[in-house]
């Protein structure tokens, strides 16, 4: 126990200006939206799978080597995952969470454009992201389901395509465009659709197709208002295309 006692919070004090209280209240519900979280999740997978953690070429992925890290993941995920389900209280769960997260069975939001089935249990390393895929043996205890495999395969394939597209942007924009279109054909509503659109616009602009890039950019603004990529899109089209009349 601490010898100090935490003071009442400003929000709970009668003398706090109302406008500050309303700001604090709004702030406490002002997290990332579901789509943004989806994109972050996809990006994290991409980063980890793209060699960010320098995964070893052999072994090391079984339960024993994952060791405490795997336990921590299980803790972070919490028991709520076992129930699967839908995260219904996006805007209200966070501030009320207590410090010890794993003990709280908050339902988990698992809805995305590629995840349509209830999630399986935590340890389902059926398919890794490309850089890790071949190096990760499937533990005997893995409870992979067809839906889970499809989900991870889809994500991995989305990552693979767009990573290649991004890599080609600087030197081979036509190839980048072709890869982005391939992504669109195969994953029209994929988790990384927004990133694909950005790459498409960048590729078009790099190829001197200013009008097409601008048209695509306008569509992007309509489809993804408030996108964090908006500045990037605007920057590209402002630079490469003719001025907007």
């Amino acid at each position: 126990m601490s010898e100090f006692q935490d003071p009442p919070r400003l929000f709970d004090l009668p003398d706090t200006p109302e406008v500050l209280k309303s700001g604090l209240l709004e702030a406490s519900h002002d997290g990332l939206g579901e789509r943004a979280v989806d994109r972050v999740a996809a990006g994290v997978l991409l980063d980890l799978g793209a060699g960010g953690g320098s995964p070893p070429a052999t072994g090391g992925a079984g339960p024993s080597s994952a060791g405490f890290g795997a336990k921590v993941i299980a803790g972070l995920v919490g028991v709520g995952i076992l129930a699967g389900g839908v995260w219904l209280a996006t805007r209200s769960e966070e501030p009320q969470l207590e410090a010890n997260v794993p003990s709280i069975p908050v339902p988990v939001e698992v809805v995305s454009q590629v995840v349509t089935a209830p999630l399986p249990t935590v340890n389902t390393p059926s398919v890794e992201t490309p850089a890790v895929q071949s190096a990760v043996p499937k533990p005997a205890s893995a409870k992979s389901t067809p839906a889970a495999s499809a989900t991870t395969s889809t994500l991995a394939e989305e990552h693979r395509l767009l990573r290649a597209a991004r890599a080609a942007l600087a030197t081979e924009p036509a190839r980048a465009l072709a890869l982005a279109r391939e992504h669109e054909r195969r994953f029209p509503r994929g988790v990384l659709a927004q990133e694909r659109e950005v790459i498409t616009i960048q590729a078009l602009a790099a190829m001197g197709e200013g009008d097409a890039a601008r048209k695509k950019a306008e569509g992007f603004d309509e489809k993804y208002p408030g996108s964090p990529h908006r500045n990037r899109v605007d920057e590209v089209t402002d630079k490469k295309s003719s001025p907007v009349p």
Binding site: F11, L24, L48, G67, V77, R91, V101, P228
Partner: protein
């Protein structure tokens, strides 16, 4: 000599997690991480990138979590460090590239929303007046409603120092709000 967790973190942690588990962790904590980063001063345009950075750090350093603090506290610590680095980078970028931060496009529907968010805008302006240390304590205590003990742990400072920072931060924030209420500049 690297600690055991450091050795684990760079070799075995990232591939010790299945994609499903990674995704679940991000989905579970993404809203909170994004909110913390926003009020810790990460520019809106960098928010998703910064959140991604937080989780990548978390997965790479899973071994550093020894269970002495809560997972949430540990996550706060990562958020604070990432936000601090991002703020510095954004500041350098502004100074070297742009005379002022990019103006955010405002659509008609957003204008109404902004009108309803006076408190939030003033709060963000008030937070901008604080130094990083005080800002972190204020955000974690007043917005995230964490205990001071957890906050001190997350920030790696003595509890008494955390109290001092909270007191100073509150005073500064209240001055901004009280000043703006009486016609002063927010």
């Amino acid at each position: 000599m690297p600690s055991p967790f450091e050795s684990l973190a760079t070799t075995r942690q990232a591939d010790g997690a299945s994609p499903e588990a990674v995704r679940e962790v991000v989905v579970r904590h993404g809203a909170f991480v994004g909110r913390s980063l926003r009020y810790l001063g990460v520019p809106e345009a960098d928010l998703e990138d910064a959140a991604q950075e937080v989780f990548v750090v978390v997965f790479k350093r899973l071994g550093s979590f020894e269970g002495r603090s809560s997972l949430r506290t540990w996550l706060y610590g990562v958020c604070v460090r990432v936000a601090s680095a991002r703020r510095r980078r954004a500041s350098v970028r502004r100074e070297s590239v742009m005379p002022e931060p990019p103006e955010q496009a405002t659509e008609p529907a957003q204008e109404q929303h902004l009108a309803q968010s006076e408190g939030k805008r003033r709060l963000l302006a008030a937070l901008e007046q604080l130094d990083e240390d005080k800002r972190a304590v204020f955000v974690l205590y007043e917005i995230e409603r964490q205990s001071m003990k957890d906050i001190a742990e997350a920030l790696g400072c003595p509890l008494q120092t955390a109290y001092y920072r909270l007191h100073a931060a509150r005073k500064a924030v209240l001055e901004v709000f009280e000043g703006s209420q009486t016609g002063g500049k927010p």
